[in-house]
Point group: C2
Chain length 350, copies 2
Amino acid sequence: MIYSKIRLHQFTQDVFIKCGMPASDAALAADVLLSADLRGIDSHGVARLSGYVRLYEAGRANMDAHHKVIHQTPSTATIDADSGLGLVVAPKAMELAIEKAKQVGTGWVAIQNSNHFGIAAYHAVKALPHDMIGISMTNASPLVAPTYSKERMLGTNPICIAFPSGQELPFVIDMATSNAANGKLEIAQRLNKELPNGWVQTKDGSPSINANELKNGGALLPLGGHKGYGLGAAVDILSAVLSGANYGPWVPPFVAFLNPLENLPGNGIGHFLGAMRIDAFRPAADFKLHMDNWITRFKQAQRIDPNQEIFIPGEIEFNTNKDRELNGIPLHEVVEKDLQELAQKLGLNL
Amino acid sequence: MIYSKIRLHQFTQDVFIKCGMPASDAALAADVLLSADLRGIDSHGVARLSGYVRLYEAGRANMDAHHKVIHQTPSTATIDADSGLGLVVAPKAMELAIEKAKQVGTGWVAIQNSNHFGIAAYHAVKALPHDMIGISMTNASPLVAPTYSKERMLGTNPICIAFPSGQELPFVIDMATSNAANGKLEIAQRLNKELPNGWVQTKDGSPSINANELKNGGALLPLGGHKGYGLGAAVDILSAVLSGANYGPWVPPFVAFLNPLENLPGNGIGHFLGAMRIDAFRPAADFKLHMDNWITRFKQAQRIDPNQEIFIPGEIEFNTNKDRELNGIPLHEVVEKDLQELAQKLGLNL
């Protein structure tokens, strides 16, 4: 079933308003969720809406949150998100990073006491119209085992870096630091398919291709082995040890049916955002000219299969976005049913 | 054969002086090279010394370089390295980043017109005594093929992030964005061993386990597939498109027997360095306490094999460093012979 962006946006906004969120915050949160559906990151869009509502119902998300800057310097700030949704505070924090970059060249904001912020790309991409490089990352519920360990210690801890270009599409890398994000496992589960090697291990740490392995106590594996463990750990430290949020195995689970651990070392989950003004390094026009040259040259890299083009990071998502803005967003029947139940519960129309 | 750090340091310094480098710069360059040997990154230490000399002999490295800040803001700078060695300019640029971080919270320096800067970790780790997070990255000679391509378009483009801790060892991740750095292939070649799957492909883009595949026109593969391609590309753009250096396939090769391409889009190779003051986000003492807690908890993560401990990024290198400071640096006979030839040519004693 295909839904228009406008219809899903309105519904998402209405759901958040029903949960007590101010209308302008609800519009922002809906923007962030819909950007995932538009870009084809279906696991991070409206498919998660009922999850956010359950977090609210469990008393773990503050829908009328008022974030506070608790520390700052000319190029940095630390924000307490007041237990709100990252969907709301992260775009506002990104504006602060951009403002600081305007003043002193770069701006960096660490956020504590937050909840999940949707796709990392939404936040980083906000820097592009300002001729800035955008950076965003977050920690997340522990699902990934460090090298040599069978314990879930890290989230899929995504990192996004977005670079402006001239005539070409912008370069946007948005990647989990695990070999596969949980959303890819869910897709394999729905299709009843086996996983590629290297995505998961069993609860004893043996290799597995079972898409349901996490339910058996297994773990996701870090990107490319120990390097991905280090990279995911660095995202955890920047997002949480630096901001005062929870880190590693203490990150509160996104799913409301699991309780946070006791004696937490920090507040909520953490994000880390940055903006760097291009012309703090070289004239923006020069940079964009060379970005276009970079992109053109990489598109022309010799192909292994003449029919398989080389992609620039972000290109596939950008094209999906263009298509879905125009032709609507296809929802899987499981997601549609979930939204219909939500509509019924809250007295709304999908 | 085991050499003391002091002996190799003196020799390295003498070699650079013989090439016309001022003594203080030569001491610095020797420091950086030796830090690789001490940390066990043998491919990036004195094993490369004759390579730097050949770059000088080919007229591609300026041993009496005077770098210039060509652009700056309170939190950023761009440096022209005057065709000098990254070994010399990068530590100086890192000092500038640290100085800017002292003033406005963070400091970021992009460097163009440089040559290779040794191990990334040397530069990032300089931030630690200042209670700062250190970041360093560089682009490098094209050896890595983008996803779906058989052409060498990117270097192994390493990235290092170093975090200070309290009682524990610092957390230092220093990783190539390819599955394996070229140094690991050289080790396999010397031992006449096959490579693990996923490290290289043939010149036609087929999977290969041949340690000599690069000599046949093959390519290294990006870390974990398309994510590593995106990550290595982001390092390339930050290091070179932002600084005005050469990028992608235009990066001048480190080996002097290969000439740079014609019509280069930039100057030399590029680096990108950063320093973030911890107390620009939260009190340094709090951060270090939580870093110690992070490290202690991850060391205690449940093991798959009870006899195989979990490592913190940087731990193995730190322990090797401690051992080699005390007991000396073992040199492979190929490296020893190379240094002896260099000594003879320049009228020095190894």
